[in-house]
Amino acid sequence: MLALLVPHLPEFIKNFIDGLLEPTMYFVLSVVGFWAMIQFRSFWTRGWFIGGFFAFAIVFYFWSLTDENFKLIVGKPDNVPITILFFSLAFLLWVAFRKMVINDRLIDKGLPTFEHREASRRVYCWPDLIYTEFLAMILCTVLLLVWAYYLKAPLEEPASLVKTPNPSKAPWYFLGLQEMLVYYDPWLAGVVFPTFIINGLMAIPYIDMNPKGNGYYTFKERRFAISTFLFGFIVLWVTLIILGTFLRGPNWNFFGPYAYWDPHKVESLNNVNLAEYVYLEWLGRALPSNILLRELPGFLTVIAYFAVLPPLLANLVFRKMYRDLGFIRYQTMVFFLLCMAALPLKMVLRWTVNLKYIVAIPEYFFNI
């Protein structure tokens, strides 16, 4: 009903956004946005900014819902949580960065932070904590009831392994991993990297030896830790979920937010393996028939990445960190860091030189 009153989102805006976005641009924009978030934190953490942001985002969101294609995918019942995640994450990042900025200023002046001032004061759990919890539970219950009343849980056709939907997608919280399948084979994207994510998270308390910033918000005292973690969480996890859910259509092709999911869209794939580059293009000879010889350049690249780069970085970039952490902690840290960087690196290689695999031994399902 309301939709009749609101003018539709103008075509030129839709065309501009659809035309602008494709995987490369999407990722570049999210990285630039991330960098700006870190860099200009004292600017956007002001009160009016978040108000303006939310006003703009909400208006634009509802306005976009006048577009059928946008509504179809974003309004899908199981995709609604992503919208909730987006807005709550935006708000809480604002809360956290605001506290960091304020505390950092206090630290600069040699004054105690907000939390330092309050930590020595102890208050009774009843009522201070219990009431807060009670309030949070009530708000959460109300949200759930409203959500449950107005939005029916989806139930599609009965299960059938014969009728394959296109695209077939995992649940939304795994779509960052599914998006990773574009760049890495299942054994890496679906098994090894998830395992490393879990192990990397578990390792964090044992490799972050910085005693500062324990129990209070600060950015300045933990620059590297916070930037790295947030890059992983925001850019490599959340934005890839948004990409995988909203912008990947049939055959996992990319579609702008207002574009029709045309199942017949064709995208040319002419990706090249590293071995082909080395032997065919650079050395001008046929691929060796011996698999190990054929993939030697790839193996050397991977070995260099994980064995040569760490000491190099220790001497050039992470000098102080290497001294503070010691050999084992530093190696662990750098290993997980390089694994994390492997995704954006492969993306860039794919986009710039159409690189498919660094090591390609499909005979044994061993492609990197």
């Binding site: 949580p81 909730i84 956290a96 004061r121 102890r122 989806p154 009965p158 995992a170 998270l201 308390p205």
Partner: protein, 257 residues
């Protein structure tokens, strides 16, 4: 007023509550101490730690949602049979025959919300540096809870047995084929042989173990049902107990030393 007094002076009331209205230190302490649920809390806490802007209440909400899921889940179990012949129709009946039925919705949206709150909880713990000593171990308990939360959500996704369910689980579990050495399409699996017989096949690899068959089928439905309703919640419940115990033992919600 006198009715109120009559009630609070009665033997029944006094047998339940061992303290007066908590508006003074003694009764405030007793209110927390003499209640098995509230006594998860200490009597006093740091002022900095009780602020909603500090913890975002996300850990607490995750736990609350876990309880919501338990209650709504038990109710759903009354009406749901994890058998291919019935599963879909049971869910459909919930939709078609229950006026203003929202139990399934509460359970499903609650599950999604729990995934979100657990991520945001982890984010806040990271941003406040609360994983640093002495809380390293509790962070690790948390990471396992994170995995269990995702597993709970994932195993539950199959149960409606519709197209959405079966294909999401198919796509998700297809990855397991590619497990190094242990999946039949994983690197190195071809080398695991006994004589000429290869040991890792579609009928013996980890994916088979997970699904109970070569494709998502009746065995998978039962398996995921048991995991979803019994095994994973028990594990998560146990670890939540450990998690809360350690929050207390590690000195309560973190604050500057």
């Amino acid at each position: 007023m006198s009715l109120m007094k009559f009630i609070t002076d009665s033997q029944i009331w006094k047998s339940i509550f061992r303290h007066k209205y908590p508006d003074n230190p003694r009764d405030q302490a007793l209110a927390v101490l003499s209640n098995v649920f509230l006594h998860l809390h200490p009597i006093k806490v740091r002022k900095s730690g009780v602020r909603m802007s500090f913890t975002w209440c996300m850990g607490g909400l995750t736990f609350f949602l876990f309880l919501v899921e338990t209650i709504t889940g038990v109710l759903l179990m009354f009406y749901y049979r994890p058998v291919v012949e019935y599963a879909y129709n049971d869910i459909k009946a919930l939709r078609d025959h229950v006026p203003i039925g929202i139990m399934r919705e509460l359970h499903r949206w609650g599950a999604h919300l729990m995934v979100i709150t657990v991520w945001l909880h982890m984010l806040r713990v990271f941003l406040t540096g609360s994983y640093k000593p002495p809380r390293e171990f509790n962070w690790n308990v948390g990471v396992i809870l994170l995995v269990l939360t995702l597993l709970l959500s994932f195993t539950g996704y199959l149960l409606p047995w519709d197209q959405l369910a079966i294909w999401a689980i198919t796509v998700g579990t297809n990855m397991a084929r590619a497990t190094p050495l242990m999946g039949h399409e994983g690197p190195g699996a071809a080398f695991i042989q006994l004589g000429d017989v290869s040991l890792v096949t579609a009928g013996s690899d980890v994916r088979f173990g997970l699904l109970g068959s070569k494709t998502v089928g009746a065995a998978t439905l039962l398996r995921f049902y048991v995991l979803h309703c019994i095994a994973v919640p028990l594990g998560a419940g146990l670890l939540i107990a450990v998690h809360f115990w350690r929050v207390r033992k590690d000195g309560g919600i973190s604050g500057p030393m």
